[in-house]
Amino acid sequence: MSVAKINQLFSGELKVLNLGLEEFSASLQREGAEALQVDWKPPAGGDRHMVQLLERVESNSALKRDQANDQAVERLMKSKPTLIDIGIACDVVPGMHKKLVLHSGPPVTWDKMAGPVRGAVIGGLIYEGLAKGPTEAEELAASGDIEYAPCHHHDAVGPMAGIMTSSMPVWIMKNETFGNTAYCTLNEGLGKVLRYGANSDDVIKRLKWMGDVLSPVLKQALEMHGPIDMKNLIAQVLQMGDEGHNRNRAGTSLLIREMAPYLVMLDRSKQELSEVLKFMHTNDHFFLNLTMPACKAAVDAARNIDGSSMIVAMARNGTDFGIRVSGLGDQWFTGPASRVDGLYLPGYSEADAARDVGDSVITETGGIGGFAMAAAPAIVKFVGGTPQDALNFTRRMYDITLRENDTYQIPALDFRGTPTGIDLFKIIETGVLPAINTGIAHKDPGVGMVGAGLVKPPVKCFHDAFEAYAERYGTKP
């Protein structure tokens, strides 16, 4: 037994960290000692069982969680998502075929699908020519002839219903650092659109136009332009008031700026080119379908790292909210999708809202979106608050993330990097849930977007995931 360290304490200056009664800090300070008051709260919101799981994980000395998480978050940040091309889903998306319908979120069967997702599936089947109208499409959808799978299982992501079928054009986003690729459909615009479950003739007509005109035109222009470094572009839009999830106005504008010089060079009618530019211009969310696969490509590089508690996917299908954890392989952990707390478009209210849906929460997983709320004061009204609230939203997320981003920065926080790499362990320990910005779909198929706001994910999926993490990586109880 050596007491040398105690004698060091006696000969040095007392410097205290005080957890609990503030008065003790005050007394020490009054007597001239340095004392730092810690804003302590019970871990895991006082949930004894979760605290036990935390202890089991912490007491496994063989587990190198910090190193595993370092590796995961470094891979996420070293990723260089680059927009390289537009292709047709069945040609480029792995495993895609005529009778496969990809949807957002964790796996879900037809009978459990939410209204907007069903509506979008019906629209997708009509678009593919597999059914003549909605009734036929609905029968086919329920027949068992159609295969359903999450976009996430096919290197893809999709906003809201996230429906992708075989002949849809898709953005191709390559991670230049690690070689993996992510895919996403092109954004259809606002209002009555497939991703909100609309499937009327004009919706199908627009999708056809996107396949026949929009995507070939953009593909050609992109070929002339060459690959676009998305990481660089996202870094710019964060400094222009976007957060890459609920606000994409700057990103959409920048994309138009990148493409315009090449669009005008194409051997296409003025009419067509004008339609393409106008389509992008009138849809502030056009860029969302680029931030999403960019984040997907980056986060995918951090999957399957043994021991890592970093979250590598969050996604909802309108029925369930699901997450995946790097060190827990392909398994989804789910909880019931929540209602969104937000602002409604005129004429709509909470009673019209579908539950939380879409893969767009990949942006938060990748360190932007709600986590970069401080960069987008213009949309704080969605969270019912002031610019100060937006700053606090982001600040709070540092409590549950592994690093500050080395590229994505927030001017209002003195160019601090965005909170990046969500750590399941920290979520459990602090009880702080990820802040997610999102749009709100109408609960009935075909109506479209009714609002936007902030959603709290269900705590259950994090608890279940941590249960599995502790089972795999913790000491035995």
């Binding site: 007392l14 503030e22 008051q37 302590w40 949930d47 409590d399």
Partner: protein, 515 residues
């Protein structure tokens, strides 16, 4: 009429909330007020009080519950406003400086920190203490209700790392002259203290200060450290550190009677230290001196011997600081006018060790004194709030502190008990301790003088006389000032003795005059 409000994700410290409770209950026309976090225990409590609803039932330990019952809507409004303004007081102070949210984050803000002081709910102590030790911090745990297995595990870990672990249930310590939790402002000097008793440490260090000497360090170990199962890990490390400390020339060790094996190793460690030492095991038979190790019969004697060993004032082994004549005079005056029914002594104590010390002085001479801390079950009070013949009550007992701060902070606990004693009508003498210093009530004497005056008046109205004997553990350096507190008590007719043991001895002499 009732009002129940649940505020999500609004965590406040429980002791802070208890103080708010106290204030809110004083609001006019409010019969019940509970401001508490939604822990399992609090939710059950509210249910039992019929103050629960669905919101309360689904509340978590991070949610604040405000439950009020009052006669009018106005009263409820007033109470609710009061709660919020009291809560805000806290949040405003918390805006002054940056507050890291966890120990890990705090270490990043203050990397040169060397000690973590924990006063959080006992169930969470093990986790935070372990994290502190892992980061090389010495630890003091003020909290109680820490499982014994956790204490053993943490102390073994601390020993392995060579770190000091004070507590759990360690109410006081002084490191490098700085007060930790409840502690007095004591002169620096050559005496090092290791104590397994909080109020014992306060009385000892104050007595050393009064005797004109001072201390190097005062290390608290927590009462359970001296149990066989823990093996005195903190006590032994404390002794060894003081042995190696060049500033410390005398070591003073106090504790409730430790397990025999712990006594043996502590005495061995003191021998090994090569320094003179003085030991007092509170409530145990006084041992024979062994070489350089002296044994003291009381906390005050322990202080006095330590001062002598350190080359200060010579130890005077008499019972009282005052002359025999002066004592005889006081005894005569105080015992002259008791009424026929007034037969018993009632000691109402804030300091547990002080209660035990007083008990020991009187137990045999008064043919038995009842107490909630009596070692002999035959004399243990069935209900700690109900006195029986001669009685000494430790008001720090859990019975008195459920949902309330310790009586050193919440003086109303003792005032309420005094009212009870008065109603019994058989009290002749009231024996009190007052503990000053950081952490304690800002004016403990002042907060009790009205109750003392009322009690003395009631006795006089009944044709009798109530003797009130008190002692004050404190120094003039304390925020409350020893001199001021003593004067406040003397002004209402209390006899204020220089130490707890002298107060007990005087009380005994007076009681021996009662027929």
């Amino acid at each position: 009429m009732k009002r129940i409000i649940v505020r999500k994700d609004a965590y406040y410290d429980s002791v802070f909330l208890m103080l708010i409770n106290q204030d809110v209950k004083k609001t006019d026309n409010i019969s019940e007020a509970v401001v508490a976090m939604g822990t399992d225990m609090n939710r059950d409590l509210l249910k039992g009080m019929n103050m629960s609803n669905a919101d309360v039932e689904s509340a978590t330990a991070n949610d604040l519950i405000v439950a009020l019952e009052g006669e009018t809507e106005d009263a409820l409004n007033q109470a609710e406003t009061a709660v919020y303004s009291l809560l805000k007081k806290k949040s405003r102070t918390s805006e002054q400086a940056f507050r890291p949210a966890s120990l890990a984050a705090a270490v990043e803000v203050l990397p040169e920190a060397n000690l973590a002081l924990l006063s959080i709910p006992g169930a969470f102590v093990a986790r935070e203490a372990r994290k502190a030790l892992e980061r090389g911090l010495h630890v003091m745990v003020f909290s109680d209700n820490v499982p014994l297995e956790d204490e053993i595990r943490l102390k073994k870990m601390a020993r392995e790392k060579g770190l000091l672990f004070m507590g759990p249930d360690c109410g006081t310590a002084i490191i490098n002259g700085k007060p930790l939790a409840f502690a007095n402002v004591i002169n620096r000097g050559p005496i090092g203290i290791v104590a397994a008793s909080g109020s014992g440490l306060q009385e000892l260090s104050c007595s050393i200060d009064k005797a004109g000497s001072g201390i190097t360090q005062a290390i608290g170990t927590g009462g359970r450290d001296v149990k066989q199962e823990v093996g005195g890990i903190s006590m032994l490390m404390g002794i060894e550190a003081l042995a190696a400390d060049a500033e410390t020339t005398v070591i003073s060790l106090i504790s409730k009677p430790p397990a025999e094996t712990v006594v043996d190793s502590a005495i061995e460690a003191l021998k090994q230290s090569g320094k003179p030492a003085v030991v007092h095991f509170i409530g145990a038979r006084r041992r024979q001196d062994e070489g350089r190790i002296r044994f003291a019969p009381s906390l005050e004697d322990c202080a006095s011997i330590a001062v002598e060993l350190a080359g200060g004032r010579k130890h005077n082994p008499t019972e009282f600081a005052l002359s025999d004549d002066e004592i005889a005079g006081i005894v005569a005056t105080e015992s002259a006018s008791f009424g026929r029914k007034q037969k018993y002594l009632r000691g109402l104590f804030c300091g547990g060790t002080l209660a035990e010390e007083a008990l020991l002085v009187m137990q045999e001479a008064l043919n038995g004194v009842y107490s909630n801390v009596h070692p002999d079950e035959g004399y243990r009070l069935a209900d700690p709030t109900v006195s029986r013949e001669h009685t000494i009550i430790d008001l720090g007992d859990d019975t008195f502190t459920v949902g309330r701060p310790h009586p050193m902070i919440d003086v109303s606990i003792r005032n309420e008990q005094l009212e009870k004693e008065l109603r019994s009508g058989d009290m002749a003498l009231l024996l009190l301790d007052f503990v000053l210093g950081y952490g304690a009530h800002r004016d403990p004497a002042g907060a009790m003088v009205d109750a003392i005056t009322a009690a003395r008046k009631a006795a006089a109205d009944d044709g009798g006389y109530l003797a009130v004997i008190a002692s004050v553990s404190g120094t003039d350096g304390d925020p409350q000032s020893l001199t001021t507190q003593r004067r406040t008590l003397q002004e209402v007719g209390c006899v204020v003795m220089p130490s707890n043991v002298q107060a007990a001895r005087l009380a005994l002499k007076i009681m021996q005059r009662v027929r």
